[in-house]
């Protein structure tokens, strides 16, 4: 289960709205909760580094991930996942999302319709990236 606190959730939704009709992307920092589930305490809105039409593609700059990892470690936390938006599409985990994922991380997909948040789902890719399992998602 992934729980996202109110402040990082607001950052994520605002980033999705601001980037519409392009896909947004970002990094989720957090720690293990009491039940062993991850709690997101910080969402970092990143620039979409995909060089092409961003209405249905995104790419994170690895240097942003390194910066996030360093910031997380200073707080004794870690990068636990990533987020991106699907403008005017549902919050599914596409074949492209799966192909370019990394196993073990939570991936939050937000559906942004006509510039407003619609719904979100979370997925974790399996070891060999042949499938993604839904992960229970709670947000404030």
């Amino acid at each position: 289960m992934l729980k996202i606190e109110a402040q990082p959730w607001a950052v994520m939704v605002e980033h999705g709205r601001a980037c519409f009709p392009r896909e947004c992307c970002g990094i989720l920092v957090g720690s293990a909760g009491d039940a062993g589930d991850n709690v997101v305490t910080l969402a970092i809105a990143c620039t979409n580094a995909y060089e092409g039409d961003q209405k249905d593609r995104f790419e994170l700059d690895p240097r942003d991930v390194i910066k996030a990892e360093r910031a997380a470690r200073e707080q004794r936390q870690g990068v636990v996942g990533f987020f991106h938006s699907h403008p005017n599409e549902d919050a599914y985990f596409s074949a492209t999302d799966l192909k370019f994922s990394a196993p073990g991380y939570s991936n939050v997909v937000m559906s942004i319709r006509d510039g407003e948040f619609s719904h979100a789902k979370c997925f974790i890719a399996n070891f060999d990236q042949t499938a993604a399992e839904p992960e229970e998602l709670h947000y404030a």
């Binding site: 995104f58 991930v65 699907h86 990394a102």
Partner: protein
């Protein structure tokens, strides 16, 4: 000695350590080899069946991507930090 930062999902395969120090290594390849020798469960998470780094694994020495240096032959010093950085992309298409 160089240290390797272990990303969150892989710590369970590295004795729950977030950092692993590797001694007696001169290159990134040797450092990663020492890492998977210390923590064998990490091997299949980092390397494919052909022994190459998996597609989502980026390796940085300090702030430099080894793909733009000498790849796994990139030299490392005792003061260097090696980061295992996931490559993340995707999209609705």
């Amino acid at each position: 000695m160089p240290k390797i930062l272990i990303p969150t999902p892989l710590r369970q395969f590295a004795g729950n350590n977030d950092t692993v120090d590797v001694a007696g290594v001169a290159t990134v390849g040797e450092a990663l080899g020492a890492l998977v020798t210390q923590h064998p469960d990490l091997r299949k998470n980092l390397y494919n069946d052909e022994g190459k780094l998996r597609s989502f694994v980026n390796i940085y020495v300090n702030d430099e991507d080894i793909r733009y240096l000498s790849k796994e032959k990139t030299e490392v010093k005792d003061s260097d930090t090696i980061s295992i950085v996931p490559s993340i992309a995707g999209g609705g298409r």
